[in-house]
Amino acid sequence: MGEICYKKRIYYKGKEKRENMRTDVHKINEQTPHQDLTEGLMMFAAGTSKEFNTGEWRTNTPVFIADLCKQCMLCAPVCPDSCIPVEDGKRGEFDLDHCKGCGICAKVCPFDAIVMKEGR
């Protein structure tokens, strides 16, 4: 992810130098000077939204009650943030790093196996 590929001219502090357009975006942070950012803030990597913990926004948290779950699989596909992992046909615990607490899963569950609790 984000490996350095091919050559392109960029400008550094007014002087031309040969540089790679495809820079390692993981080395860019909030202290990076403007000359070292990518053109148009283009991202040279995929799947980087995983690194953005949207779970911090949550004000309500879903709680999974495994005993009541029949593994009907209605909840996983309706999650807008793909926060219900499914393995071998069975759902697992919520990915709370990314769950925003929207409550759609709790609404769709016919067995009351998901309840929303206040707070994070």
């Binding site: 392109k8 001219r9 403007h34 950012l37 053109e39 803030l41 283009m42 040279f44």
Partner: protein
């Protein structure tokens, strides 16, 4: 070898597009630019070019699709006028901030209201701060030449910005003129194939274009975009030089016409420069030292170069073909005077508003303006700023 033909400005642009044969053209009709997509569609239907034409439902969509195609890796363009450009407003800024080197053929028409279809520069000037390069033309020949130079400027790695090639609605877009065209092969060699370094449809090399940027990044991105626009000035001049070698026609940031010893200079954009040049020829015969500067490149704005070109004259008439409703004159008037002040060129500068919504601008108007400047300098007569030319009183 070049060949001569007679063409309207719209035909000339459509012909340039045929010769460039770009990948994608989404467009929506609006007077007076409608003929451009119409003629391009004809060329496609006749098998003379293989551009993918997308008949979209609005100009909001045509600019969105142009940006989308460009991001995907296709050389793309659209054409519009007036309210069409206004409907693209949001996307114009995105094309520039996402650093998309797409092109737009703008046929200048006034913005409503009162509703009117004729020429002035209120559409292009309204989009002057969207981050696009803007190049204006005096004649059908110039708009053809400017269009051939568009992609080599926009796609240069030092630039990567969208470019607007502007011409005066009806005055050049519909009037027919004898022009010189390049051969297809010459255009192909000059413009080259589009080979973007990074694009969306590039398996194994994923990118994201236009991501959300928090405050810690947005200001830095804008600075980078502004620097690219500044750098485009040298690229515009380099491309013009190469184009001159190919066509024999010389272009710069602006054209200086009989200004070398001029006491009075008129700065003007677009087709009305032809009227001003005729008036200058007439006045020169009477021994008056007058000249014209025709501004070709409005963005990036050549403020220092204009100040240098004006520093030896006594007074300048700055001609705006738009009202900018700021109570302080037109955009050209504001920007040139700022450039003069910053360069400590303290000449008399008078801003005039002319030709709004297709109002005629004649050689007599130019005589009167030069006479007024001369009167101000020789007799100290006070001149009204941003005065309307040809207004019924």
């Amino acid at each position: 070898m070049a060949r001569k033909d007679r063409m309207s400005g719209n035909e000339a642009v459509a012909y340039a597009i045929k010769q460039i044969n770009p990948d994608v053209m989404p467009a929506f009709p609006i007077t007076p630019s409608t003929e451009i997509p119409q003629m391009v569609s004809n060329y496609i239907a006749n098998g003379q070019m293989d551009t993918e034409f997308i008949p979209v439902e609005s100009e909001h969509s045509s600019m969105s699709a142009t940006i989308g195609a460009e991001a995907a890796g296709a050389r793309s363009l659209t054409a519009t006028s007036s309210a069409g450009l206004a409907l693209m407003w949001e996307e114009l800024l995105l094309a520039a901030s996402n650093r998309m080197p797409c092109a737009l053929a703008l046929v200048n028409r006034t913005l409503s209201g009162p509703i009117n279809i004729n020429c002035d520069h209120s559409d292009g000037m309204g989009a002057r701060d969207t981050g696009w390069i803007q190049i204006y033309a005096e004649s059908n020949q110039e708009v053809y030449d400017n269009f051939i130079q568009a992609y080599p400027i926009a796609e240069d790695p030092r630039v990567h910005l969208p470019i607007m090639i502007c011409q005066d609605g009806f005055i050049t877009s519909h009037a027919v003129m004898n022009i010189e065209l390049l051969e297809d092969g010459e255009v192909k060699d000059f413009v080259g194939e589009y080979e973007p370094e990074e694009f969306l449809l590039n398996p194994g090399k994923p990118i994201a274009v236009g991501p959300y940027s928090v405050s810690n990044y947005a200001m830095e991105a804008r600075k980078n975009q502004e620097e690219a626009l500044e750098r485009s000035k040298e690229v515009i001049l380099e491309v013009a030089k190469k184009y001159e070698a190919l066509s024999g026609r010389k272009y710069g940031l602006f054209e200086e016409y009989r200004t070398e010893d001029a006491d009075y200079i008129m700065v003007i954009i677009g087709s009305a420069a032809g009227t001003a040049k005729q008036a200058v020829d007439d006045l020169r015969e009477q021994g008056k030292k007058v000249g014209v500067i025709k501004l070709r490149v409005f963005r990036p704005f050549p403020a220092d170069e204009l100040a240098e070109a004006l520093k030896n004259c006594k007074a300048v008439a700055i001609m705006d073909r738009t009202e900018s409703y700021n109570g302080n004159g037109g955009p050209l008037g504001s920007e040139i005077t700022a450039g003069l002040f910053r360069n400590k060129v303290m000449i008399e500068a008078v801003n005039y508003i002319y030709g709004l919504a297709g109002r005629d601008f004649t050689v007599t108007d130019v005589y009167d303006i030069f006479a007024e400047l001369q009167d101000a300098i020789e007799n100290g007569t006070k001149v009204e700023q941003f005065k309307y030319i040809g207004l019924r009183k």
